[in-house]
Amino acid sequence: MTTDSRVADLREVRGPSALGGGPRRFFDLLWLMSVTEFKRVYFGTVLGYLWSLIRPLMLFGVLLFVFTQVFKVGSNLVEHYPVFLLLGIVQFTFFQESTTNAVTSVVAQEGVVRKTQFPRLVIPVSTVLTGAFNFCLNLAIVIVFIFAFGVDPTWTWLLCPIALVLLFVFTTAVSMALSVLYVRFRDIAIIWIVVAQVLFYATPILYPVNFKPGGDFEHLLMINPLAVIFEQVRIWVLAEPEAPTIVQAAGGWLGLIPAAVIFLGICAFGAWIFKRDAPRIAEEL
């Protein structure tokens, strides 16, 4: 039949989507966008990388001073309090910066979204990946501190990537949901700043999970997936014999279930809402 040869090459165009266009193109674009953005931040300003380093280091300096000199509690709580603090701050900075940048990312790329067809998922994920590049550089500073404060290397350091991958996945899921919600609800940006601030205190960064000043909040704290991840990183890096394991902190294996449910729930929600809204982003803008 002649019609067959006439339409042989045709492929259906289904409109924009979160992932369409093949994995090759997705990863090419993801890598290119992340690296370009990273370079822009690095070489775009006079101080470049220093800027992204100054914020966590300033926070670290202030908090270290307050909790070791003013209140003099830090070092009683954890043997290597400065390292513990810095580790928490660097991890949280990754989470906070990536998600905050992701909120406006899709809208900021309006010009591209409205004129070009490409997998929409690239936008929030590249924001997180850019944050991850920063995180890796900040980790170098952490390692310097680790040795400077005399923490002994242990084999459990090698396990840390497992926790960091979970942190990356969680951050990505939150970023996906926020970026697409912001298209329709512009107050998400303000709400998220407050929520992130709350999360900072609801995660064992300033204090260890077993800190019990007025009551036993351990179990409650371990509902927060970030708390579980940060605590596990602390255990693997600092290897303190007296620190509770995450199972102990949560009061048994069952205590970890809420955190796991929240983690998976947010991942599922992020994926679902992004997939649902991705085809219509260009129309809503």
Binding site: V7, K115, R186, E283
Partner: protein, 418 residues
């Protein structure tokens, strides 16, 4: 014919026949937008009024559109504002998702929408070009290889490392157009590119279109400029209120489009012809190209060959055929004509056809021009058509005057104390 020659003068290229493979196939496409009567764009409002009815107005942008475009065809989509032509292009470009119906497309596609291909103002031209290429389906390595030719085509060599936020709109359009050109896609979707840019850029676009046409690419051009459709397109489609009014020859679509404009009572800026005739009938009136084709664009300096054919309905001793060339402001620039008499003083009989061919030197400035046509003879024989023809003169030199004359300038510098 060498490749170079093909670019300079593609000549009449036969439109792909019905047996040619199909490049774009659209079946029963529907797309509507929900326009909220009251916009709720914060969570706070949603939280404060959780059960407030959310009212929408349905806007049917496209209502059951089906058509096919053959491979290698230059296809025009015309329509008035709000006819759905831009929505259709965005659906083809996979930027919007259709409500129902299918779009099928062969090969790689490059869009050029709203004067751009989607740039990030905070990045340099180089970075944007590579990003765009990857979005259009090239690998980063391929696009980096083509980077230099993109920058060169856009004539932006010295600005390649400048952030796009410092670019002028003209520079952006040039860059976007060259990205699309160099993306080497099989199908090009172009929206309103001809409305912008200076004369030299328009010239470049024109050359580029001819080249792409010669290379057998499938091009879809959305525009409301009929002159562009008639000079480039093999076929065209007229959209009105989300439905296809007509698909056919560009000239035919041009007439339909005019008719549509008049029905709506909207003053058209294009070739609004008013016809007033008696005793004679206009058969043909056009600007003829070298090979007998009808031209709607002329390069400055390219002679204008007007061709008019009038059928007489009464016997008359003579008729005068006159032309006025006017510019876009309807300022008459030049008037000329010819008295046509019967052989050896005899009558011109009814039924005879008077053919007038005029050759006019083209000293016109760049831009749109009109030709008013008048035919007059004794006994009330008359035809007057205001804006009988419309054409665009393009050229590489921008001129502020309405005409461009040959000139010689001699300048000397002399000492005051002589």
């Amino acid at each position: 014919m060498s490749a170079e020659e093909t670019i300079v003068n593609p000549g009449p290229r036969a439109a792909p026949g019905p047996g040619a493979p199909i490049a774009i196939q659209v079946e029963d496409l529907h797309k509507s937008f929900r326009i909220p009567t009251q916009r709720v764009d914060s969570l706070k409002e949603r939280a404060v009024h959780p059960f407030a009815p959310r009212e929408y107005r349905e806007l049917h942008a496209l209502d059951g559109v089906s058509f096919e475009i053959r491979k290698g065809e230059f296809f025009g989509i015309v329509g008035r504002n709000g006819s759905g032509k831009s929505t259709l292009l965005k659906l083809l470009a996979s930027i919007y998702r259709a409500d129902s119906g299918t779009i099928r497309l062969a090969g790689r596609m490059a869009p050029f929408i709203e004067l751009g291909v989607g740039f990030n103002a905070d990045l340099t031209a180089r970075e944007n070009v590579v990003l765009n290429g990857v979005m259009m389906g090239l690998t980063p390595r391929e696009m980096r290889r083509r980077l230099d030719s993109v920058i060169e085509f856009a004539e932006l060599g010295e600005f390649a490392d400048l952030k796009l936020k410092s670019y002028s709109s003209g520079m952006l359009v040039r860059l976007a157009f060259s990205v699309m050109m160099e993306a080497d896609a099989d199908v090009l979707l172009i929206d309103e590119v001809l409305a912008v840019g200076d004369a030299s850029f328009q010239q470049k676009c024109a050359d580029a279109f001819h080249q792409m046409k010669a290379e057998g690419k499938t091009i879809v051009l959305v525009t409301h400029e009929m002159a562009a459709v008639e000079s480039y397109c093999d076929r065209a489609m007229l959209l009105s209120d989300g439905e296809i009014q007509h698909v056919g020859e560009p000239a035919e679509i041009g007439r339909e489009y005019l008719k549509l404009n008049f029905e709506g009572g909207v003053e058209s800026g294009g070739t609004a012809a008013t016809d007033d005739s008696d005793g004679a009938r206009l058969v043909d009136c056009r600007i003829a190209g070298g090979d007998g084709a009808t031209l709607t664009t002329l390069e400055h300096g390219e002679e204008i060959h007007l061709q008019v054919e009038v059928e007489l309905l009464r016997d008359v001793p003579a008729v005068h055929v006159g032309f006025v060339i006017a510019n876009a402001d309807e300022l008459g620039l030049f008037e000329f004509g010819e008295l046509v008499t019967g052989e050896s003083g005899g009558m011109l009989e009814a039924g005879k056809r008077v053919v007038v061919k005029a050759r006019v030197e083209n000293s016109l400035g760049t831009g749109r021009h009109f030709v008013h046509l008048g035919v007059q003879g004794p006994g009330g024989v008359s035809i007057y058509i205001h804006k009988a023809l419309s054409f665009v003169v393009f050229g590489t030199q921008q001129s502020r005057g309405v005409i461009v004359l040959d000139y010689e300038v001699e300048a000397t510098v002399e000492d005051q104390a002589r």
